[in-house]
């Protein structure tokens, strides 16, 4: 039901967004709320289509996703308007992607989401947008090919595509899994499949980057964990080796790269890549009972904070032309509210306690410790410490440097404010209350 509502709204919105964006936004938000309601009632897709089931954890992820997308659609303005409709489609596809229990559907929906993401970045206004879009597209195309290759191999070896009934024994399956993962790592921006993302996230329109780096990544993270769980358990050695290796590589490289960037969007892009590295730890620790909680927590926390920082940056670029670190010197005088929210979300990304970023790291790392991966967790902790360096560097520019020129004080638009407050509420709520996520994942 949720699926139908979202798709219908997605078709309806383009009629309005040119003339009256308020109506478009209202329709979108209503659709998100209705979809959430049907998810709550347990009638999202599983009541209509086969191959879809929603456990508590999936439902929680869906609520978070819908809330975030609602927040994004409220914040959009100007030429970003077409994104509203695209986000409704994205929400529909994501619900299906999250709920599916069929590997075939997983691959198909992965492609659907990939296509939606190409359309998102195709909102091209200048040369840089075009460059970013092309990079995302080409890398995506190659990755799709590789995933399909792996999937083809896999389809020869299994009798069923239902997650719980899949046949995962045999050497070919392992090779197939590895090839598919290589493709999926592209979407998760794991080093060395990250090159496109570092450029695309910083070059495409920031609102699209918010969705790409925040929303889509979280969704893929969570759904991939569910789809690959049986593989991860079946080959413990390969799982630990591959994921630990890529986790360490990803976070270390991304953090070092982020430290020396001058463009804020580039810092955030590398920070997003580094977070993929942390998020691989629960994969490596799949044997632990906390791995599911770890991945859910990471996805939930990440979606709020990453989306929020990019949206804020979008506002700042539109209003003040902010691009480089130099541009945000003394920003708190010109945009006090933006600065405050930006700071809180950056703190969350850095993993400061009482914010979601901290608990998500704590739970994910705990899963690692529980599975005996002490060394990886230790490296991740050192990396988090390193990462504080560039987050605090941004905050230092905002609060402790003198502005270059004294412009006017800018206000936050109502839509943007409501959207940011939703995201802030998520960051704070999941930073204090851990019970929801822990309880939701208990049955897994």
């Amino acid at each position: 039901m949720s699926f139908i509502i979202l798709i219908a709204a997605g078709l309806l919105v383009p009629i309005f967004y040119r003339n009256n964006i308020v109506i478009a936004k209202i329709i979108a938000v209503l659709a998100f709320i209705l979809a959430a309601y049907f998810v709550f009632k347990g009638e999202s897709l599983n009541s209509i289509f086969p191959y879809f089931v929603a456990d508590d954890a999936t439902k929680l992820m869906e609520f978070v996703l819908l809330a975030t997308l609602a927040a994004v659609s409220l914040a959009l303005t100007g030429f970003e308007r077409p994104l509203i409709s695209q986000m409704l489609f994205l929400a529909g596809a994501s619900l299906a992607f999250l709920e599916t229990n069929n590997f075939f559907m997983f691959i198909v929906l992965f492609e659907v989401i990939a296509i939606i993401s190409y359309i998102l970045v195709a909102n091209i206004r200048n040369f840089y947008n075009a460059e970013g879009a092309i990079k995302a597209f080409i890398a995506g195309a190659v990755a799709s090919g590789i995933i399909l290759l792996g999937f083809a191999l896999f389809s020869f070896t299994t009798d069923s595509f239902i997650y719980s009934e899949m046949n995962v024994s045999g050497k070919f399956t392992l090779i197939a899994e590895a090839i598919m993962l290589a493709g999926i790592f592209y979407k998760l921006t794991v080093v060395p499949m990250h090159g496109w993302a570092a450029d695309a996230y910083s070059q495409v329109n920031h609102a699209a980057a918010a969705i790409l780096s925040g929303v889509i990544k979280s969704v893929v993270l969570f759904a991939t964990f569910k789809a690959f769980y049986k593989f991860l358990i079946a080959y413990p050695l390969a799982t630990v080796l591959i994921f630990s290796f890529f986790a360490i590589l990803t976070m270390t490289l991304a953090n070092f790269m982020a430290l020396w960037q001058k463009r804020i969007s580039k810092i955030l892009a590398y920070s997003s890549i580094a977070h993929s590295g942390y998020a691989l730890i629960p994969f490596a620790a799949a044997a632990s009972v906390y791995s599911y909680a770890g991945i859910l927590y990471y996805a939930v926390a990440y979606i709020f904070m990453q989306t929020s920082v990019f949206l804020l940056l979008n506002d700042l670029r539109r209003e003040l032309g902010v691009k480089y670190l130099d541009d945000i010197k003394g920003l708190y005088k010109k945009a006090p509210l933006h600065s405050l929210l930006f700071t809180i979300q950056l703190f969350s990304l850095a993993g400061i306690p009482l914010l979601a970023g901290f608990l998500s790291k704590a739970v994910a790392f705990y899963a690692g410790v529980d599975a005996g991966l002490w060394i990886i967790v230790l490296i991740a902790l050192l990396n988090s410490a390193l990462a504080v360096g560039y987050y605090v560097w941004i905050i230092k520019h905002i609060y402790f440097d003198e502005p270059k020129n004294n412009g006017e004080v800018i206000q936050m638009s109502t839509g943007s404010m409501i959207g940011q407050l939703i995201l802030l509420a998520g960051t704070i709520y999941f930073g204090i209350v851990a019970g929801d996520i822990m309880n939701a994942t208990i049955s897994f």
Partner: protein, 616 residues
């Protein structure tokens, strides 16, 4: 969760935000938000009192659970909590009400009311929580609020310094509480306050551990409740607004040390730590009472008397009478709030003159305030039928019956001396001729609704709560209370107080010249100096921290930090730059490079898998 409990937990913080935000748009709104929220909180406490006096509210909640690591955050409301809630919210509400005029001219009212509500929230959290973790959070919230409110007029150096001092002194005590929590967590496996008492009663705890934990917690209580040797901050805290002194440094926050000991009473009793509690408290009571005798500022006199009376309550707990200690806590909270607010009224009337020697003759201009303050004074002095008499009598009797020689001597002296300093204060303020030219001109007149009404309510309470003294004791402790009884003690105390009273009246009303003559003697002056400076404890602490901690330890650490740590840290910049330059080579911005890396990644995975597969 129960609605009233939820309100108590959340409303203060919502109120604080609202008071600040709305207050920014229109200043008066800040007061009204605070007033309404304060009243709602008091109502919620009343609801708990009337509806849940028969049953204990006990809600278990685990904040974070990860395997063996569990951080509990439960709610536990029994009679002790309800009494503390009524004190905190009731006095909090009256205090907010009083602030309408007292803080009326201040441009920073939104900030003031937000902080006060935040403080009340911390206090509520402390008294209704079930675990030491929650208690610690509440404890620290209060500490923060106290710091912020002492240095409310931050542009005054003295206020900023006093706030900093309060923060450091209490934080020193808090470190011990944190250590106690850690010890309990690892060795006892629980930080649950109720469970700790049960385990103590069942004898399941290791005695040494329990003693260390109890002493650590008591260290925190010493800091918070201004006991020897961590009391100097309480005196300097008087730099804050008087309404803040009344609420935080007279009636509520300083009680939290006593509360935490009372909450863990069985635990303390099991460890014999009560012996130390009693002796430290008796000494503090003596120091407070004697120092109060010679202070000049109204608020400092009251601050030392607060210290002395908190100690008296501690002595009650220390000698083993929970009933006496808690009863004195409740009575003291009421009459001390009354005295502080009266002092606030006096200061308001006298154009912010705080030196008692510059006042005088105010009984003509403010007869009602004089009356209410007299009632509070009599209660503090322990004159029947005021409530202070009953609880003080009970503590002293308990000390005589169960305490050692040191405890009973010092607490008796402290109890007797209260009449001396408070009579002196009252006479200096209200009798005689004004000693200040300003007072002869026009003075502020306290309004009926905003100033006299809360004072009247408190004065009424301190008198009439005497009727229910037995009920309060039974309500908190239960029906089977062993009441201490020492024959002839009441007569001795009353006679002693009468003699002291007559001496003070004689000296300050009729014999000021004699007083000056005595005071000019060298020996008396020396004693005066010692007492006036609070036995130089502050100077001693400052000396130790300045010369030993800062001068020796911190300086050597700084050297190490500057020349070793900083060098390494600075080198990390070069290191990251070096690593960055290596990594940067892979980020050309060309899609071809990226695809090459992509293929490399795929190759790594596939080769790794092939190796693993070969091994299978």
């Amino acid at each position: 969760m129960n609605n009233a409990v939820l309100t108590l937990l959340i409303a203060p913080y919502i109120g604080a935000v609202l008071a600040y935000v709305l207050g920014k748009t229109k200043r008066e709104l800040a007061f009204w938000v605070a007033e309404v929220v304060g009243f709602i909180l008091f109502l919620a406490s009343l609801v708990l009192f009337f509806k849940y006096s028969d049953t204990v509210i006990d809600i278990d909640y685990t904040w974070i659970a990860l395997g063996n690591i569990q951080i509990p955050f439960g709610i536990y409301i029994d009679h002790l909590s309800i009494v503390m809630l009524l004190v905190a919210t009731g006095l909090g509400f009256l205090d907010i009400h009083f602030a309408h005029d007292y803080m009326g001219d201040d441009p920073d009212q939104p900030r003031y009311y937000a902080k006060v509500l935040f403080f009340i929230g911390g206090m509520i959290l402390l008294v209704i929580t079930k675990d030491l973790i929650g208690a610690f959070v509440g404890w620290e919230f209060m500490g923060l609020a106290s710091y912020l409110l002492i240095s409310f007029w931050y542009y005054k150096n003295s206020a900023a310094d006093a706030g900093m001092q309060a923060f450091l002194y209490t934080r020193f005590g808090d470190i011990f509480i944190l250590a106690a929590i850690a010890l309990l967590f690892f060795y006892a496996g629980t930080v649950n306050l109720v469970e700790l008492n049960q385990m103590a009663n069942a004898g399941q705890l290791d005695k040494t551990l329990a003693l260390v934990v109890a002493l650590f917690i008591f260290m925190g209580a010493i800091g918070k409740s201004g006991q020897f040797p961590l009391y100097p901050w309480l005196m300097n805290a008087m730099e804050g607004p008087t309404t803040v002194s009344a609420l935080i440094h007279g009636a509520t926050m300083v009680n939290s040390g006593i509360y935490i000991v009372a909450r863990l009473f069985d635990f303390f009793a099991y460890t014999d730590a009560l012996f130390i509690v009693a002796n430290v408290a008796a000494l503090s009571a003596f120091i407070g009472a004697t120092s109060a005798l010679v202070q000049k500022e109204i608020k400092k006199i009251l601050a030392y008397s607060t210290m002395s009376h908190l100690s008296i309550a501690f002595v009650g707990l220390g000698v083993g009478s929970l009933a006496a200690g808690m009863l004195h806590l409740v009575n003291h909270a009421i009459f001390k709030a009354l005295l502080f607010l009266s002092a606030g009224a006096v200061i308001y009337i006298a154009h912010h003159t705080k030196d008692a020697w510059k006042l005088g003759g105010l009984i003509k201009t403010a007869p009602w305030v004089a009356l209410f303050m007299a009632m509070g004074s009599l209660s503090l002095a322990g004159v029947p039928p005021f409530s202070g008499y009953f609880s003080k009598e009970m503590v002293v009797a308990a000390a005589w019956e169960w305490g050692n020689g040191f405890t009973k001597t010092f607490v008796t002296i402290a109890a007797l001396l209260s009449i001396a300093y408070i009579t002196r204060l009252w006479i200096l303020i209200f009798l005689g001729e004004p000693r200040n030219e300003d007072l002869k001109g026009s003075v502020h007149h306290p309004s009926n609704l905003w100033m006299r009404l809360p004072l009247g309510i408190l004065a009424f309470l301190t008198l009439f709560i005497s009727i229910w003294q037995c009920d309060i004791v039974h309500y908190i402790v239960g029906e089977d209370v062993i009441e201490p009884h020492v024959a002839g003690l009441a007569a001795f105390m009353l006679t002693g107080m009468l003699i002291i009273f007559l001496i003070v009246v004689g000296l300050y009303v009729k014999g000021l010249n004699l007083l000056y003559k005595i005071a000019s003697h060298h020996f008396v002056q020396t004693i005066h100096q010692v007492l006036f400076n609070g036995y130089y404890v502050e100077a001693m602490i400052t000396w130790i921290s300045k010369n030993i901690i800062v001068g020796a330890i911190a300086k050597s650490m700084r050297w190490f930090d500057t020349y070793v740590i900083d060098y390494i840290v600075n080198k990390t910049v070069d290191m990251t730059k070096f690593v960055y330059n290596i990594f940067k080579a892979g980020h050309s911005g060309k899609i071809g490079t990226y695809m090459g890396q992509f293929v490399l990644g795929v190759a790594i995975i596939v080769i790794a898998i092939l190796i693993i597969v070969k091994g299978l």
